[in-house]
Symmetry: C2
Subunit: 236 residues, 2 copies
DNA sequence: CTGCATCCGCCTCGATACTG
DNA sequence: CAGTATCGAGGCGGATGCAG
């Protein structure tokens, strides 16, 4: 019988310290990031988190289930996996906030690009970049195809919704690879240059490109619109 | 000469992973929490973070200065300390978000109360608890005296400002100790019981109590107002 | 006295092997 | 597939030393 070991704690009566006691250890928030897009199985998590070590993942999952942050999905189903509880979903906002910090950091510092890339992480980046103060007045939909991952952003009436899957009738479709996409978010790749080089391909209503770029903070409100949208890949 | 060791990294092209590479290690976000309220010196930080170990604090400070999250304050001054940069201040929101999670967690789980208590952490808790959707229409000021720490909340015109120090003419003054305050935030102490028992003392415009409690999410919008404010400590 | 650096014991982490 | 067992390496915590 193994002794139930006392978890390490900051031992402070502080809301932040309590939070970090639960989700502050290594890998924990990345596990939750994966579960933000829906239930995942042990194997999926292991694959999405290279380097984590099987024992550590197992330990984190037990600890998070114990804390009520996530729960096993339907023990009866053989596709048994893990889902976020309502408490776990409340980490969505802080995770977006930290992602914004990550983008701000990589925008101002030269960082060695991470080895692992997953297109699904682009969804999180877009959610983080969306500035709800800059929602265009018109209702429209921007579809993103990052590698094999497709998702879309619905705007209108001061609301923004980022959803997985393709849009029904997108105003705009943006196609790119995950690496270029992140370099855009990190402001290490200029949107105009990306269009010219063909790293990013855009299709749809030209005027929507400006609104989309403003929405995700890649173009200032004062920058001259127009023209940009008619640019395409340079001819070989 | 010691080799400049490669920092451990998640090595993922993901905004969250980049963020955690910088501020994800143990103690780091707590250091930044301390600096949110203004510049602090090495000694102050050491005192506010029991258990951190002097070498680790020094290492974290070097690393954070290197990352541009904080900067030494005026190397010329003998009161030399550390301040958050603009990048560092961008961690304010995610820290509030994590604090909200911490309060949600402690509201639903029995937790061993942290040994260390600092009244200054109450400021963070109030910032985290404030619901900007519930700002009262009237402009008024709530002053909090938690142990020796005094701060106040200014509301009005849909805006909320949490500021250090006393207010000029507070609509309401709330006095309590840090421990009771946190138990209120963690919903382990009922506001009404706290008033009756004398753990919390309120002074000022009675009707403002309801608005203040709603602002910080300790009273539902539908709960009956009135009466509550006239309660005082039970006679001995 | 402050602001660290050094040393040491321990615990967590990361990788691999193994099991139901 | 979903973990458990094991073990070396390194990060962490505490005590102490030391320079400005």
């Amino acid at each position: 019988m193994t002794m139930a070991r006392e978890r390490r704690s900051y031992d402070q009566q502080c809301a932040l310290a309590y939070a970090l006691d639960v989700v502050g250890e290594r890998w924990t928030l990345l596990i939750i990031r994966e579960l933000l897009h829906g239930p995942r199985r042990y194997r999926d998590l292991l694959e999405a988190l290279p380097g984590i070590g099987t024992n550590l993942l197992a330990a984190r999952l037990v600890s998070l289930v114990d804390a009520g942050v996530l729960a096993p999905t339907e023990p009866r189903r053989r596709t048994g996996g893990y889902t976020l509880t309502e408490l776990g979903r409340s980490l969505h906002e802080p995770i977006l906030g930290l992602s914004r910090f990550g983008l701000a950091y990589t925008s101002t510092h030269e960082v060695r690009p991470g080895v692992t890339v997953r297109a699904s992480w682009a969804v999180l980046a877009v959610e983080a970049m969306v500035d709800s103060e800059r929602v265009p007045d018109v209702g429209e939909t921007y579809q993103f195809q990052v590698d094999t991952e497709t998702f879309h952003v619905e705007v209108g009436a001061g609301q923004v919704q980022v959803r997985p899957g393709p849009a029904v009738d997108p105003t705009l479709t943006v196609r790119t690879d995950a690496s270029s996409f992140f370099r855009l978010g990190m402001r290490q790749l200029d949107p105009i240059e990306a269009l010219v080089s063909g790293a990013v391909a855009v299709e749809g209503v030209p005027a929507a490109v400006t609104r989309c770029l403003r929405l995700i903070g890649l173009m200032s409100d004062t920058a001259a619109p127009g023209r940009l949208a008619v640019l395409g890949p340079a001819p070989a």
